[in-house]
């Protein structure tokens, strides 16, 4: 058994998830994790699958990649178990400064020890006055206080808020 990560990009969803997972299933591949999202006009899918050693994912999916115009990228022999890290902090940022908002904030936060697990950004507002919104989850590897200090400094330029994530175990 081997593990691979598949990345697919397509112009539209148009039944891709169903078609790809059916093909994988027919060829004894197991889906472990999947993440899918629409990005602009495109649809992006990442899948982590386990499959028999002699299974060639590229070949299996070839009929689909042609028919559905998929761009496909395969990383073979990835680690079997992803050590799903648990976020302990959530940070939201929004502002009008579209050009610098992601770079400036993530840069300062990385320096303060933030390890990003999940990041999403979006553009809202009107065409004339767009608002840039970013939401991220991660680990404060150097402690919450240090990260909070970085957030407080960024607050001079952006609307930014940090909240701790306390996971319930029960």
């Amino acid at each position: 058994m081997k593990w691979s990560v598949l990345t697919l990009v397509a112009a539209d969803e148009q039944g891709i998830v169903a078609a790809v997972s059916q093909k994988l299933y027919e060829n004894n591949c197991q889906l472990a994790e999947a993440s899918m999202m629409r990005l602009g006009a495109n649809f992006a899918i990442m899948l982590r699958v386990s499959h028999p050693d002699d299974c060639n994912l590229k070949e299996i999916l070839a009929p689909l990649t042609e028919k559905m115009h998929l761009h496909i990228h395969i990383d073979n022999d990835v680690a079997e178990k992803s050590s799903a890290p648990e976020p302990d902090v959530n940070i939201t940022v929004y502002g009008a400064d579209r050009a610098g908002i992601v770079a400036k904030t993530t840069g300062a936060l990385a320096e303060a020890g933030l390890n990003i697990i999940d990041l999403e950004t979006a553009v809202a507002g009107s065409d004339a006055e767009p608002i840039y919104i970013m939401s991220l989850e991660g680990n404060a590897t150097q402690g919450i206080e240090k990260l909070q200090k970085a957030v407080d400094e960024l607050a001079a330029d952006f609307d930014i808020r940090l909240s701790e994530i306390e996971t319930l175990r029960a």
């Binding site: 799903a84 648990e86 976020p87 999940d118 999403e120 989850e137 701790e164 994530i165 306390e166 996971t167 319930l168 175990r169 029960a170």
Partner: protein, 168 residues
């Protein structure tokens, strides 16, 4: 005292609806001690429900008084036949469960609840609970009705504005 085995999904017994406790006798008291010991044996569990150890009675234990970052709480609570009588507000939070190892996810819960329950001395209580403690109570009471937090997962993209009503 003894540590009980915790049922994990997909064990079908987790879907059972638990029955009311009619009287708190010695057997129940002994069971509550075992349930507490089982809770404490788990990694940082702030609550446990009887059905998680295959006893399908309406008994839960909740204690959020020892959090790294303190939260509003009523201390250590043993709740027999608990019943939520009022829900208010909504909050999204991350949950994990002793019965669902290696997975955590976002769940929307009422921010504030009022509930009635009986303690191990057969005393009736009516309390108001908020925030993290209210979340723990709702998680445990779900177990009594055969529900897991998996039944209530929401996408990371879900924000609270989309949901106007907390669905029981």
């Amino acid at each position: 005292m003894s540590i009980k085995e915790i049922l994990t999904y997909p064990n079908e017994a987790l879907k059972n609806i638990s029955t009311e406790v009619e009287a708190v006798d010695d057997e129940i008291l002994q069971f509550i001690r075992d349930l507490e010991e089982t809770r404490q044996s788990g990694p940082g569990a702030v609550g446990i429900a009887a059905p998680q150890v295959d006893v399908h009675k309406r008994i839960v234990i909740v204690d959020v008084s020892n959090m790294r970052k303190p939260v509003d709480n009523h201390g250590h609570m043993i709740m027999i036949n608990p019943e939520i009588i009022h829900w208010e507000g909504m909050a999204k939070g991350r949950e994990g469960c002793l019965s669902v190892p290696d997975f955590t996810g976002n769940v929307i819960r009422a921010e504030k609840i009022k509930l009635r329950y009986m303690d191990e001395h057969s005393q009736q209580h009516e309390i108001e609970s908020t925030g993290f403690e209210a979340r723990a109570i709702q998680h445990e009471l779900d177990h009594l009705d055969g529900l897991l937090f998996l039944d209530r997962l929401v996408s990371r993209r879900t924000d609270l504005f989309e949901r106007k009503v907390y669905k029981k």
